[in-house]
């Protein structure tokens, strides 16, 4: 690169800004120790908000490759980065209350969020398998540490270790797949891989195997069946705000990668790709729906719910056109907003300052805090796909994509799974609203301002989407269109 100027890196300004902030805040933390906790935490949240602002100002619909083709920034990655930053703001807001209540004073905690976010943001723009891998590992390593952040706590360390070992395995699979792709196409750049596969006289089997391994690595990240085993344990063991973070942000980024691979390097392998997606999707929906029925811990329940949700979201990919991909983006956005709200309320259901996790303990919550209980009911109805909430439309459009692609049977399995899953959401609603408290101990609903922002935003978005869906729909569709050659 001889004639370098700022405009060449302007699309990745949010990432650059966040990296600079991360280094700065690390310095502050290192110099001032844990006393700087408050400053660092608010600094991280402010960074996310500012990065969002920067993203908005630099976002451009034209595709733009930068860093020697390592990254391609287009409409799709702009929307996904917007989603990720929103999710980061949500999850860091949710962590504030928990940090204060548990008197948790480790300045690394917010910084790990920040580092993880940088990795996730690079992930969705990557146009090169190495960039993909590096970005993925940057975020994953932060996530492993976050899962084990309560290091004197058995559950948390177990969750961290489990996540790490299985995560390392999936990274291994991913790398193996990448090496196969490199071996059979001679390149790691997405567009060059695509060109090599298109020009090949017959599809190299090794490349297909490589694709399968890469997909396996990514499916692990979105916790879809058959790589879902870690999810319930990690969800349960990790501190609740960390679980909320796991549930919303990394999955969006990993999903974005799957979409990019499907439409980019592996576009020519679509038939094989779809077969895998069908299996993963159906298995996730069914396992997520049925296994969730047996759970007594709300965080485990949400783990299975997220497994099922990922299955539903994958349905949209069966329709390899902008409408199908757009439905997935819409699904992810709505899923993120709903999940953030659910976790916000979950963390405020407390007795004597201790957050409750067992579902049975929610009994009679509506009598103490009807507003929170009914808000959770709205979100859970939305998650089970009952109109008029946004969750219905999320499901509606992915099912439409599946039907549009001609996969009626898959769609039918999906809707039936959604009925099964509806049972466990209803059970929570029933306990909160219909039943009497199972303990004399009064609920002490604890809802700080930061948490309230997330809950109100989530509930409002879930209801208002029905009345004014077009802006969001338009964004999702436009983002999807940018992935397809005109």
């Amino acid at each position: 690169m001889t004639d370098w100027n700022l405009s060449l890196i302007s699309p990745i300004m949010p990432e650059i800004f966040l990296s600079a902030m991360a280094l700065l805040l690390v310095m502050v933390g290192a110099l001032k120790g844990d006393k700087s906790m408050g400053f660092v935490t608010y600094g991280v949240i402010a960074s996310f908000v500012l990065a969002g602002g920067i993203l908005y100002s630099v976002s451009d619909t034209r595709p733009f490759d930068t860093l020697n083709g390592m990254l391609v920034v287009n409409g799709f990655s702009n929307v996904m980065r917007g989603l990720i930053l929103t999710g980061m703001v949500f999850s860091s807001l949710l962590s504030l209350n928990w940090l204060r209540q548990n008197n948790f004073m480790k300045f690394e905690f917010p910084l790990l969020y920040l580092f993880s976010a940088i990795g996730l943001l690079f992930m969705v723009s990557s146009n090169h398998f190495l960039a993909l891998y590096v970005a993925l590992e940057l975020s994953s390593l932060s996530l492993y540490v976050l899962a084990a952040i309560k290091r004197d706590h058995l559950d948390s360390t177990e969750a961290g270790l489990k996540y790490f070992i299985l995560g390392a395995l999936s990274s291994g699979l991913l790398l193996f797949g990448i090496s196969l792709i490199y071996g059979y196409t001679g390149s790691l750049n997405f567009s060059e891989v695509n060109a090599a596969l298109v020009s090949a006289q017959m599809l190299p089997v090794g490349a297909i195997i490589g694709m399968v391994f890469i997909l396996a690595g990514l499916v692990f990240k979105i916790s879809a069946v058959p790589f879902h085993m870690w999810t319930p344990d990690v969800y349960q063991g990790a501190p609740t705000p960390v679980t909320a973070f796991f549930a919303i942000v990394p999955k969006i980024a990993a999903f974005a990668l799957i979409i990019r691979l499907m439409t980019g390097p592996f576009a020519i392998l679509n038939d094989q790709f779809i077969q895998i997606i069908i299996f993963v999707s159906v298995a996730s929906m069914v396992v997520g729906a049925f296994a969730g029925l047996l759970q007594s811990n709300f965080k485990r329940l949400l783990a299975y719910s997220s497994i099922a949700n990922m299955g539903f979201a994958l349905l949209g990919l069966l329709y390899n056109v902008p409408e199908g991909v757009g439905s997935v983006i819409l699904y992810l956005a709505i899923y993120m907003v709903m999940t953030a709200g659910v976790f916000g309320i979950l963390m405020s259901i407390q007795r004597r300052g201790v957050a409750l996790e067992k579902i049975e303990d929610f009994a009679g919550f509506a009598q103490y805090s009807p507003l929170l209980a009914y808000s959770l009911a709205v979100l859970l109805f939305s998650m089970s796909g009952i109109p008029p909430m946004a969750g219905f439309f999320a499901k509606f459009f992915v099912f439409q994509a599946a039907v549009g692609a001609g996969y009626f049977n898959v769609a039918v399995v999906g809707v039936l799974a959604s009925v099964v899953a509806a049972y466990y959401y209803l059970r929570v609603i029933k306990l909160m609203i219909f039943d009497k408290p199972n303990s004399d101990m009064a609920f002490t609903p604890m809802c700080q301002f930061s948490q309230l922002i997330v809950i109100v935003a989530s509930v409002a978005a879930v209801i208002l989407f029905t009345f004014m869906p077009n802006q969001v729909m338009h964004q999702a569709l436009e983002a999807a269109q940018s992935l397809f050659p005109q």
């Binding site: 009807p370 008029p388 039907v403 009626f408 039936l416 009925v419 509806a422 209803l426 219909f434 729909m473």
Partner: protein, 599 residues
């Protein structure tokens, strides 16, 4: 007529505004905040009365001479995917809107003193329910319809689950999951149709032709939803549970409005959009209807729980509705719609009547009551009138619906109709049994003998029911006139889809007569692009001659009396007219309406 005044949206969302108002007014979190509760009651009552007032305005403005959708509103909702916010009513849906608007204030009045806990939430739930009910019947967009249709589950689930009886949890879950299971299959069918037609607009979907093979699957998916909602045998089992455990007002809405959504769905979706599959599956529906009528009546005979008895009687009465709808003739469909309206009034009132004694003695066990005519004479009068309406005594509304749907059924299939008619007798048996034990019979308990007669509040809400039962019974024309044009259009629409095929096939000689009905009965025949006959013959091999000449001839055939020659001429004439068959239908329209008035 105020054409651009969005009266339907106003009726739909006014209860929502009321619910938000109650929510916003707040009150103490727990315990009894009597002031806030009373305010909530009044807000809910005033809102629902306003909606009822608006529905009366709508009825006055409603033009009874057209089959077009009226008070239409259309706005962009989901641009680029063909989903719009489209509202409108025709002769069929307008009465269900009216029924919903009529029953809600009465429900609120009936639960004025009987609900003590979480009064504000109760009022909010009922107002939300009203929004969704009215929306369901007004929606002219398939997605909008589905949204309202499904959303009804949420308030009803909460109403049963919070204010219900002992087994409320079980019943609420059963109600919710049963209905949801049916509905999601309908969702897949809707998606398929939307993708093929490129829009979710109901009038456009009605005009779209779906291939015969596809229609069969789509019909089954819709059937899964509407049959559960109706409910038809054998998927009726949620209904007795839900009815028994729901609070009185919940049962009233359930019986009065929610069950009608199934029948309405058949008329709005299955028949016009999937005419061939409807005719193909009609025999199955007939059999299920007859089983429902006889089986549910027999089960009702054996009940000791009064609410359960009425619940099973609802299943039987809904059997007449499905029977009538799938006769595809004027009398049958008119009878079905009328039966739904009449059942909405009578069974709602019967549940209220049971609620009256339940409020006093807190039991639904029939054996605990007896000889109420002694201490509750007025109640006895009300109950007997309602009972006679339910039995279908002439001069009550129940008679008209049952008679017309049976008449329609007799034209199609004598055997089915004969079996169905036994349901009328069985209906009399269990209702008379109930009346004898409850109102007359020996005195059983002292506490039952000390119950007070109807209070002023109860008199107020029974009065409109009594008036309606008798008025609809002696002057059904008001309703029949208004539903006739829409049904006529529905029938001509169905036949036009069938006639298109017949016209194509008519270029070949000896079509129809030469083809044996058996050969046509196979699904392969349905798939063939040119099915050279009406589908009546296809679905009903032993169909009577006037049926095979196509449905629009009904009125004329009836007028011609029973001479076979006349029928044959009609048939020949119809064939000869070929493309003009639609004109013939329009011509025969007024005559038929005239005929129906005379009944």
């Amino acid at each position: 007529m105020m054409t651009d005044f969005p009266i339907l949206s106003l009726m739909t969302y006014l209860p929502l505004v009321g619910a938000i108002l109650i929510f916003a007014m707040g009150g103490q979190k727990s315990g009894h905040d009597v002031g806030a509760d009373t305010r909530a009651k009044f807000v809910a009552m005033i809102t629902s009365l306003l909606v009822f007032g608006l529905s009366l305005v709508m009825m006055v403005d409603f033009n009874p001479h057209t089959a077009d959708f009226q008070f239409v509103e259309k706005k962009v909702w989901f641009e680029s995917v063909g989903i719009s916010y489209h509202m409108g009513v025709d002769g069929i849906s307008v009465f269900f809107v009216l029924l919903s608007a009529f029953l809600t204030p009465i429900c609120l009045l009936a639960s004025w003193f009987s609900v003590h806990t979480r009064v504000r939430e109760y009022m909010i739930a009922f107002l939300l329910l009203e929004t969704f009910m009215i929306g369901t019947f007004c929606a002219l967009d398939a997605v909008l319809f589905y949204v309202f249709f499904e959303a009804v589950l949420i308030p009803m689930f909460i109403i049963i689950g919070v204010w219900g009886g002992a087994r409320r949890i079980y019943s609420a879950f059963k109600f919710f999951l049963y209905t949801l299971l049916g509905s999601v299959l309908m969702l897949v069918a809707l998606l398929t149709m939307i993708i093929q037609a490129g829009t979710a607009d109901i009038p456009t979907l009605m005009a779209t032709e779906f291939s015969s093979q596809m229609q069969l699957w789509l019909f089954l998916a819709f059937f899964a939803s509407f049959a559960v909602k109706m409910p038809m045998w054998p998927v009726h089992t949620w209904l007795p549970d839900a009815h028994v455990e729901a609070p009185t007002a919940g049962s009233v809405i359930l019986a009065g409005v929610l069950l009608k959504m199934g029948g309405y769905g058949f008329l709005r979706f299955s028949l016009p959009m999937l005419p061939e599959a409807s005719e193909f599956f009609a025999p199955m529906i007939f059999v299920l209807s007859v089983v429902a009528i006889i089986y549910a009546s027999l089960v009702a005979l054996a009940q000791q729980d009064m609410k359960k008895m009425i619940a099973y009687s609802s299943v039987a009465h809904m059997g007449f509705v499905t029977l009538g709808i799938f006769t595809f003739n004027m009398q049958g469909i008119q009878g079905a719609v009328f039966q739904m309206i009449s059942h909405g009034v009578i069974s709602a009132a019967l549940f209220l009547a049971i609620g009256v004694v339940y409020d006093r003695l807190h039991t639904r066990d029939l054996n605990r009551y007896g000889n109420l005519s002694k201490n509750m004479p007025l109640y006895a009068v009300v109950f007997v009138i309602l009972m006679l309406g339910s039995v279908g005594l002439p001069a009550t509304s129940g008679f008209v619906g049952e008679f017309l749907s049976l008449l329609g059924a007799f034209k199609v299939n004598h055997v089915i109709a004969t079996f169905a008619a036994t349901g009328v007798v069985l209906g009399a048996a269990y209702m008379l049994l109930l009346t004898r034990k409850l109102v007359f019979g020996p005195k059983i308990n002292d506490d039952a003998a000390q119950m007070t007669d109807l209070s002023l509040r109860e008199k107020i809400y029974f009065l409109p029911f009594i008036i309606l039962v008798l008025w609809l019974g002696v002057a059904p024309a008001y309703v029949l006139d208004r539903i006739a044009p829409s049904i006529e259009q529905l029938m001509s629409h169905m036949n036009s889809k069938v006639h298109v095929r017949m016209d194509v096939g008519y270029g070949q000689p000896n079509v129809g007569g030469a083809e044996s009905p058996q050969a046509l009965q196979s699904p392969q025949a349905l798939q063939a692009p040119q099915v050279p006959n009406t589908l009546n013959e296809l679905s009903e091999p032993d169909v009577s001659p006037e049926m095979s000449s196509g449905l629009p001839k009904e009125g004329q055939a009836q007028e011609n009396g029973a001479e076979p020659v006349g029928r044959g001429q009609d048939k020949a004439q119809d064939r000869a007219q070929g493309n003009n068959s639609r004109a013939a239908q329009t011509h025969s329209g007024p005559q038929r309406t005239h005929m129906d008035h005379k009944k």
